[in-house]
Symmetry: C2
């Protein structure tokens, strides 16, 4: 192996839509693991809408990525060199490897540090259905949404890596599940493969009118990944004691101006409804429960998932942009 570690570093904070010019290509020597550390070669990178937030110089649930720092990203890879007896060269691992070929990870870093991928599990599953996005769907739906059989559940960003899991869990729990997604391909996958009861194509449908039509008993749980107009439309149709699970607001992540919130928050009052945010990091100590149950549902066929695997180191920055232009089909990954 050559001694080159390819990297994409954050070179300029984005104003508006994130793009290739926010990053700079760099080559550095492959790092050497110190005492107790492990050298990992990334094989797959995870792309997540929340990464857009990490690029802002603003207070959030994780510190911003610094200018000149390697762009933060979840990854799976292979151990190359290990100074920790629990990890051996060749082991498949999951870490926060960032946009680079090699990373030095520390098993002491906890859930965000380094974890071994069990035998028999396809490594990319740890970034998709079993990963942060799948677990986000799991905890958001079960812990905040608290679905009860017979309820109506509406999911935005429904074909995405989180929304698709959230919606299928609600279906498993006996709910009527309606998804909102963009374009016929995603919509067909939702009804045909993920077995959503109905779907709304926000690119061609009148979302408000379709929610009303498809949710005759109103919406008990709205699992929102999008915000903006779609949140507003959903709030028009919430039921008494509805739960609005605020998972994300991708429609506003690349806005240059603050995006006005819904004008109809008083519907939360009239309907004694709750809107609640969460971050999956808080559930990391219970990850085994989520992963265990998700594996079971994947094996039984109750949950299906899609991975959109791009290739090529040079395509990394543009692959992030795919999330915000709706080009991804399922969980966005890139194979190195």
């Amino acid at each position: 192996m050559t001694n080159i570690n390819r990297q994409w570093v954050l070179s300029k904070r984005p104003h508006g839509m994130v793009g290739v010019d926010n990053f700079e290509y760099k080559e550095t020597p492959i790092p050497t693991p110190g005492e107790g550390e492990v050298l990992v070669r990334n094989t797959h990178l995870s792309f997540d809408p929340t990464q857009r937030g990490w690029m802002e110089d603003a207070e959030s649930y994780l510190p911003p990525v610094g200018i000149g720092e390697v762009m933060r990203a979840g990854s799976v890879g292979e151990v190359v060199e290990s100074n920790d007896e629990r990890f051996k060269p060749g082991d498949a691992v999951q870490t926060l490897g960032g946009w680079q070929d090699y990373v030095v990870a520390s098993p002491a870093g906890g859930a965000l540090g380094l974890t071994k991928i069990p035998d028999g599990i396809e490594p990319t599953m740890l970034l998709s259905v079993l990963g942060v996005t799948g677990q986000t769907g799991y905890w958001g739906m079960l812990d905040l949404g608290q679905p009860k059989a017979g309820e109506t559940v509406l999911v935005s960003g429904a074909a995405g890596a989180t929304g698709s899991i959230a919606g299928q869990i609600a279906r498993i729990k006996g709910c009527r599940v309606v998804g909102i997604a963009g374009g016929p391909q995603k919509c067909a996958w939702l009804t045909e493969q993920a077995r959503f009861d109905a779907v709304i194509d926000y690119k061609s449908d009148d979302v408000d009118a379709r929610i009303k039509e498809l949710c005759p008993n109103k919406v008990d749980i709205f699992f929102d990944n999008v915000g903006g107009d779609i949140l507003q439309a959903a709030l028009n149709h919430i039921n008494m004691n509805a739960r609005v699970v605020l998972c994300g607001g991708i429609s506003g992540y690349n806005a240059t101006e603050p995006v006005p919130g819904p004008t109809n928050l008083m519907n939360l009052v009239i309907n004694r409804a709750r809107m609640e945010g969460f971050i999956v990091i808080d559930y990391m100590d219970r990850a085994a429960q989520a992963v265990g149950e998700l594996i079971g549902w994947v094996k039984s066929g109750d949950i299906v998932y899609q991975e959109d695997i791009q290739e090529g180191f040079e395509n990394i920055p543009d692959t992030l942009n795919r999330l915000f232009t709706g080009r991804n089909v399922g969980k966005q990954l890139l194979k190195l």
Copy 2:
């Protein structure tokens, strides 16, 4: 007594600020109570921001007041004639008497029907500190806000009939309480009489900057009666696991166009915070608990309250408008 029942009926639904011209004066004969019914002469009317919503032809938690119908309002009064053995002429009672001298009420109507006022209780207290507004402050703060000693609680509309009770209960529970109100008179009452820890005058202060300054440990509970810019400012300073109690949104009640919501709802996500609405009607079966505890706090001096008692049947419509122009000082009532 003459046989005239003076009434103000809703003549025209408001578009924008409610005013005198939305109502029409009418005289009808005093009604006769039927079997099991009671004739009540209203002595005091209650004015509440929520009445503005009852005037809209829109789905809400109560049906709209119809055009030509007597304007709905809480009231206290005196029994004049009774066909129910539990009520005797002269008894002080509370009912939903509306904007008129006399009303036929039915004890079978439940909490919104007719209830006797216990001896030793000033009747107007049943419209103010012990009434719907006081109980709203009680349940909103305790059931949704769940204040813990040492937390910081921010209240908008803090000098109002609900906000002042909510804030004082948080103070009783050991919280640091900061109020937002309009004008030096209300602000002085809050710190000097209601013993709030600090106060923000939204008419003269930079609300966002002052929240930051006065809540160095951030806001654990925001009890909101106002909405709009004040909600937005408060969301900028919420703490982890904050509770935003959506009680009302008076800033938007008279708007002619939909008022944009806060641009910073993602702060609910980052801070794993909750925003929740409620309607006090849902707590009516537990009213005895709230009233009992509130009476105790009033007697012990832990809770103070203000009543703004206008007079004159002709002034009823304008008295409602006082709420929306901030002219009221404490609970708005009118003595007939």
